[in-house]
Symmetry: C2
Subunit: 180 residues, 2 copies
């Protein structure tokens, strides 16, 4: 089961958790609603928003721009709700810089589980040997220390239980209580 299934199940069963809505310059597809699936903006407006520091993160994918509007996220947080961002490493690094209090969960495919654990373990293997074996996901794993949690997506129920536990636990944190 992929990350999409995990995401849907998580949003369905977690109270006060919303999916972030991205801004994009790509054209709306049939059935897509502005403000529900995406915020559809043109290139000029998107570039303006970058200048205004209106994004927690943004990226170019082929000729289209995608970004996470900061205001949408902050509005939800101020209402005591959490916002789920489904982003890659590059996005996560940008968000972490702009919002270091965010909670960063590294969702990892099951077949690389052992390798992930090895890379983060203390110098059991040489860094070079690990990197050679992890060529394909080298860049991702190098940044694992920027994340707070690792969840291996081996079985959907187990991964879901872990992510749910992380959300519940974070909501019990003393340092987060004054934000809720």
């Amino acid at each position: 089961m992929g990350k999409g299934t995990l995401k849907k199940a998580l949003l369905n069963q977690t109270r006060d958790l919303n999916l972030s809505i991205s801004a994009t310059t790509r054209a709306a597809r049939p059935g897509e609603v502005h403000g529900q699936h995406y915020f559809f903006v043109d290139q000029v407006r998107f570039r303006e928003m970058i200048e205004e520091d209106a994004f927690l993160e943004w990226a170019q994918v082929y000729s289209n721009l995608y970004g996470t509007p900061r205001e949408f996220v902050l509005n939800h947080l101020q209402q005591g709700r959490d916002v789920l961002l489904e982003i890659d490493i590059q996005g996560a690094l940008q968000v972490k810089e702009k919002m270091p209090s965010g909670v960063f969960i590294f969702i990892y495919p099951p077949n690389l589980k052992e390798l992930a654990f090895r890379l983060v373990s203390r110098g059991q293997d040489s860094k070079d040997s690990i990197e050679a074996r992890l060529a394909a996901c080298e860049n991702e794993l190098k940044h694992i220390d920027y994340y707070d949690y690792l969840v291996v997506n081996d079985k959907i129920d187990r991964a879901l239980q872990k992510i749910t536990a992380i959300i519940i636990a974070e909501r019990c944190k003393i340092k987060n209580l004054n934000m809720r």
Copy 2:
């Protein structure tokens, strides 16, 4: 339901979690087994252990001494198991100094819930006015920032779910993976 019920349920349903066994100078009661209910030691040995820094925390209760042996806890951690310590604020402060990587959960009685939230919220009420109302538990709440999590023990199932979530989440933490 009190903390005892919560503790038993937690230990029953959580894998790789053991209750810490305290050392004490008090006499064993009928049915109490050395190394199972307590480590029974005499005053001389207990004082030696204090000198040897063998306790994560210790306290005198009336004429008896009670302490958490460091070795018991470390042995379990090295085997990838977690250890539950049921201690008061004074104990928690000692443990935090000796083992800052520990996870500290403040279990709070339900009727003081609102007051607890107020004290940790940012300057909504004056510190003086809160402290006056919280005279009885003043000392405990003053130290809440030393804890990582707050769990209000309002309903046993809810409190249990939260503590379980905290344990699962902590086990997913990147910084803890190399210890397991």
